[in-house]
Symmetry: C2
């Protein structure tokens, strides 16, 4: 079950009766209604951050930012998407940039916490329907559960951010020629942005992709961010116990394998299709090309750093990148998209069907029917959303389909890249993209919550009847 990433000793079970007090606490409500609370959390933060960005002190020249721009930037930061329509350092003051850092941090922590609570709630429900839970397990103290989740999320997030910060400082010091203040500030900025997968950059120059002492920590931190912290926790614990990869849990195995396949296909794509792309490869040698290829393969999955070469890729690559961004990263992570596990489940259903089997198995475990229904619902509704958003963008801006699709997928997958459709000149398209980002942030996990815990007991089981498909 899901308890794998909470070893039992993490819970301090507290069975003394203080139920009335608990019911009033936010923690109790978080554990009872994580789906609704997630939406409230993000909408309140969007309103608050938009208001702060609208103040004149948030901008360099102390003017008021247009509402559409402030709203879009707030959503982009809170959803950790990172598409910027103004130059981050030239437009926003230090106050504005601090607001952005806090927005990204609160957005990232929020989504990781709520997504974990939702996953726990779904698992509890699935286990209960299968009568696998003992009474003791069902009675797990929910308030402590919230505390434990928060503690784990905060510990992992700040640990990785601190490691990234320390790793970045020497490299950035050299880039900034010993300017300690600027280097500290940029290290902090990149550390927060990288793990939370938000592609805002402090100097507008993108990732220092040629300087590996800067590029490597950012890429690794962003990659960890796309895995989701249950995977990181499981990897850490398995390594610490000196156990082999076979002892990893199902979710970790599926996430890692799917991620590996997607990154490998992307790497091959960039090396083959974009071999002659000057903006990406600069006619570099093989080793440098491999490095740049890995960055190109890892980054679009959610981080959004290194924008310079993106609009210069060929049209087929734009379509391919749209697909990669649509798939996104791992569940309960700061990445977006339909998530790699959703894709894996859909793929496993096809594999099972084609091979004439009936049980959807992977790594000697069976996938629950409700998880399959969840994956189908998420994929279908998100495909419909991206399709409608792309057509709306085409109509608003007269953009080509590949460009509209790219920016719609980037917004939905929280990729953070743009080929120019996200544009302050078209406020209507900014609202379309902001809405797409919010769905990308909240949609799949709230769908999973709604679907994973069916609230209707079927009064009548109708007989099946034949319907011919295909």
């Amino acid at each position: 079950g899901y308890a794998w990433w909470f070893s039992t000793d993490m819970f301090r079970t507290d069975n003394t009766d203080e139920r009335t007090a608990r019911k009033r606490s936010i923690g109790y409500r978080m554990s009872q209604h994580p789906g609704q609370l997630t939406i409230i959390y993000f909408l309140v933060l969007v309103a608050f951050v938009t208001a702060l960005l609208l103040t004149p002190i948030a901008t360099q020249d102390h003017t008021t930012t247009p509402f559409s721009t402030a709203f879009f930037t707030a959503v982009s930061a809170l959803s950790t998407c990172g598409i910027s329509i103004v130059n981050t350092t030239q437009h926003w003051s230090i106050f504005g940039q601090v607001v952005l850092i806090f927005a990204v941090q609160l957005g990232g922590l929020g989504v990781m916490t709520f997504a974990s609570l939702i996953a726990l709630a779904i698992n509890r429900h699935l286990k209960a329907t299968q009568r696998l839970l003992t009474a003791n397990e069902l009675g797990t103290n929910k308030l402590n559960e919230v505390r434990s989740v928060l503690a784990v999320v905060l510990t992992i997030t700040f640990s990785i951010e601190a490691i990234t910060f320390i790793s970045l400082f020497p490299g950035l010091s050299r880039v900034n020629k010993g300017d300690v203040g600027k280097s500290l500030w940029e290290s902090l900025f990149f550390a927060v942005m990288a793990y939370n997968n938000a592609g805002f950059t402090p100097d507008g120059a993108g990732l220092y992709v040629g300087r590996w002492e800067v590029g490597m920590p950012i890429m690794l931190s962003a990659f960890c961010g796309t895995l989701g912290f249950p995977v990181i926790l499981n990897l850490w614990r398995t390594a610490r116990a000196h156990k082999g990869p076979r002892h990893l849990n199902l979710h970790t195995k599926v996430t890692l394998l799917t991620t590996f396949i997607i990154v490998l296909i992307s790497l091959c794509w960039f090396l083959v299709v974009e071999w002659n792309n000057q903006a990406l490869f600069h006619d570099a040698n093989i080793e440098e090309r491999m490095r740049r290829g890995v960055v190109a393969a890892v980054m679009p999955r959610s981080s959004g750093f290194d924008l310079s070469w993106v609009p210069k890729v060929s049209e087929p690559t734009k379509v391919f990148m749209s697909l990669v961004m649509f798939i996104g990263g791992g569940s309960t992570s700061t990445a977006g998209g339909i998530r790699v596990t959703t894709l894996a489940v859909i793929f496993l259903v096809c594999k099972t069907a084609f091979s004439g089997h009936t049980d959807v198995n992977v790594f000697h475990r069976r996938i629950h029917t409700r998880v399959i229904m969840t994956a189908v619902s998420i994929t279908t509704s998100c495909l419909a959303l991206v399709f409608i958003a792309s057509i709306a963008l085409m109509m608003i801006e007269n953009a080509s389909f590949s460009h509209a699709l790219f920016d719609a997928c980037s917004a939905f997958g929280l990729g953070g890249y743009s080929v120019g459709v996200a544009n302050a000149d078209y406020p209507a398209s900014l609202y379309v993209l902001a809405f797409t980002m919010l769905i990308g942030r909240l949609g799949p996990m709230t769908i999973a919550y709604a679907v994973g815990r069916p609230n209707v007991v079927e009064a009548v089981h109708y007989p099946t009847d034949q319907i011919v498909v295909g």
Copy 2:
């Protein structure tokens, strides 16, 4: 069950024992292995028709057609797709045109017969797994089943084609100013092309959309062709028995409702988005616009007639039409795409999931889990195919994504339209599109066959384990 469109009195059960003789007969094999036989039937016909079209007597100027063009035209005719890359009357001689008519007719009859046998085989299997079949039903004489299916398919096909032929003749006589021979030939050509949903036209001028005495029978016949003959048979029998629409069977209800919704959305789309399109509406009055709108909404679903205005629509409309062509028409019909019932099942899964239910119900009947798995497998693999084909076309011809997607969806959905990507100057893209057409013709039904009759009994039921999606 599926026996609804074969009322029991249609079977003349013949239980005398001639098993050895039967096992050698083609009919017996057709009932035993409809999936494999479908593929063999089409591949043999493709080779045969390509060879005929390669002969000099097949062309007007008695030259040899390039292999890629002959192969593409053969596949286009046999799959009843109807994309033409040469002008049908200027390039092909009367012999060549007769070959095309026979190819379309054999392709249409073949797919309807095999698809029905496959649907029967799946239904027999589903019923057997549910222990709903009596021993008597399981022992249904399979040879007679094949004969019955063939009889029904031939009767319905030739009846509708004859009605279309008779309805078209007066109108075409007027168009051809009394030329009886030409009018008879064109009526025959249109009658075969319309019901089989192949968009080849005898004069290259497309559907006489302004002349309703010609346009209306063609549209109605093509529309019947997209429903699939089990639906037509069920409608006919229900009407003859003076019963209300509530007595229609589940497959008919779902097909009709989904078709109605798709046509209605398409009609609204064309009237709203293409209101100012001169090529489509010619600044006509409201009544004429409604007529032309209905044709525009019905035709892309598979028929492919009336090509003149298609390349002149706006970019968003091209994307929208791609989606409509991808969905296609009814199961066991001459239409292509993933089929409307597949879309309906996917939609019903989402609706069930979102409303917190567990059983996928529609019209007081439950959809079998294997049908859901079939629908998911068909949709996923066909999406992947169209995506890969589009990217290949973009690379071969440097085409834009919307154009490549349009022609790929037209080929897969057997729509028969083209925005110019299907082009004799690029043999490589012709092979890509021909492959896409063959998959569009055979893919969904063979997937349904493979998935609907699982051939593996699970030796071990693994325990479920948690995997977080979304």
